[in-house]
């Protein structure tokens, strides 16, 4: 067990959560971060789905990495991701129909998520399955963390709710408080992501 959780492996897992966050530092996966964060719940669901798919596609690619012809490696990666996503969505449709209805649009978005391809190409092609698994989980959670922050801000200010429960009390509305309609627009999440990146980088600068 000692080797499985060595210092290097812990770093593989924890780096993408903060110092090498896929959204805040590598600026990958922005497209889906804009599309699904207008409310908290889809943001969480999307974050978790990406975590699972990144981890498993990382493992598969890492297992077959030595046999992949270099010239068609991107195609091979894409096929693995697409097959995995399709199977997951089929299984969900059969055994967790409600969840699959909620996920409908995101499943397609996962295939095109740049983080997946980025991790496969940059990490799984050079590293063993266990490290790749940790890397996938770490990157997925790092991505999910940013999505949750953005979703939190947008739902709170845009709808006055969190996870569908009303947070802003009624008397605020009676006294003229209004939900910020801008927050429900995709453009606003770009600004929030910008603010998150700004805060993230200025904090990390001090650490260095």
């Amino acid at each position: 067990m000692g080797k499985l959780f060595s210092k290097e492996n812990c770093e593989v897992f924890s780096n993408p959560l903060n110092l090498n966050n896929p959204i805040a530092v590598q600026v990958l996966g922005i497209c889906s971060a804009l599309a699904v964060t207008s409310q908290l719940e889809p943001a969480i669901v999307m974050g978790l789905s990406v975590t699972v798919i990144t981890a498993f596609s990382n493992v598969i690619i890492s297992l077959i990495r030595k046999s992949i012809p270099n010239r068609i490696r991107i195609i091979v990666q894409l096929v693995v991701v697409a097959a995995l996503v399709t199977i997951v969505s089929q299984v969900l449709k059969a055994f967790a129909y409600d969840v699959s209805v909620q996920l409908s649009v995101y499943v397609g978005l996962i295939i095109t998520n740049c983080i997946l391809m980025g991790r496969l190409e940059a990490f799984a092609m050079q590293n063993g399955p266990w490290e790749s698994f940790l890397d996938g989980i770490g990157n997925g959670l790092g991505y999910a963390a940013i999505l949750v922050i953005v979703g939190f801000v947008r739902e709170l200010l845009g709808f006055g709710t969190l996870l569908g429960f009303q947070i802003v009390p009624d008397f605020c509305y009676e006294n003229g408080y209004m939900n910020n309609g801008m927050m429900t627009m995709p453009a606003m999440s770009l600004i929030i992501v910008g603010c998150v990146i700004w805060a993230h980088r200025s904090i990390n600068k001090e650490e260095k």
Partner: protein, 204 residues
């Protein structure tokens, strides 16, 4: 012997084998799970029809049981299929409607009271509207706005529709979803056109 993984032959063979394996895998998964998925879809449709009759909160077998109990007949009318329902001893009619949203198809069920002049309940759903915006037409607060609304004006035209939030003046204008004007318009058009198609049945 070390395999040359960069050769043309190897690349071709690799790609072919990979595609065949993945194709078989996907075909197998899809056909193995098809019956279960179809059963889920069918049950979901029943649940949608029940929801349009303001019967919610059911799951699993309960949906099939309640559906068999409530829906007594299916008619083939001018505008399409009509489900006849008995809710607490009163007759209601459920009209399926279809329309277009911003990104994809919309559909719904409108249930009308026995006199066919007012709405009893509605259910709307979508293929791929934006989560948190257009997708909110699926939420009950939006659908319940239609309950009890009249369908026709004095001249007998279908006037029930959806307008931008805060602009509803007449009783037949329903508030749309903020930030989802195009989806809301789509629902409005679907309701108006859908009911128009059933006009003959509704005036019978």
């Amino acid at each position: 012997m070390k395999l040359n993984t960069n050769g043309n032959v190897y690349t071709f063979v690799y790609a072919t084998v990979m595609v065949v394996i993945v194709a078989f895998l996907l075909a197998f998964v899809a056909s193995a799970l098809k019956p279960i998925q179809d059963a889920n879809v069918e049950r979901d449709t029943k649940n949608q029809i029940l929801t349009s009759l303001n019967i919610t909160g059911l799951a699993g077998e309960g949906i099939d049981k309640k559906y068999a109990e409530v829906i007594t007949d299916e008619l083939q009318e001018e505008g399409g299929k009509v489900f006849v329902a008995q809710v607490d001893g009163v007759t209601k009619y459920v009209l399926p409607v279809k329309g277009r949203g911003l990104w994809g198809g919309l559909w719904g069920y409108i249930s009308v009271n026995e006199d066919k002049q007012t709405v009893f309940g509605t259910y709307f759903d979508h293929e791929s509207e934006t989560a948190g915006l257009g997708a909110r037409i699926k939420e009950r607060w939006f659908q319940e706005q239609f309950n009890g609304k009249p369908i026709f004006d004095e001249e007998g035209n279908v006037v029930l529709t959806v307008v931008k939030k805060g602009n509803s003046k007449a009783e037949t204008e329903i508030d749309g979803v903020t930030g989802a004007t195009l989806t809301s318009n789509g629902v409005g058009a679907m309701v108006t056109d859908g009911l128009n198609a059933y006009k003959e049945f509704l005036n019978k």
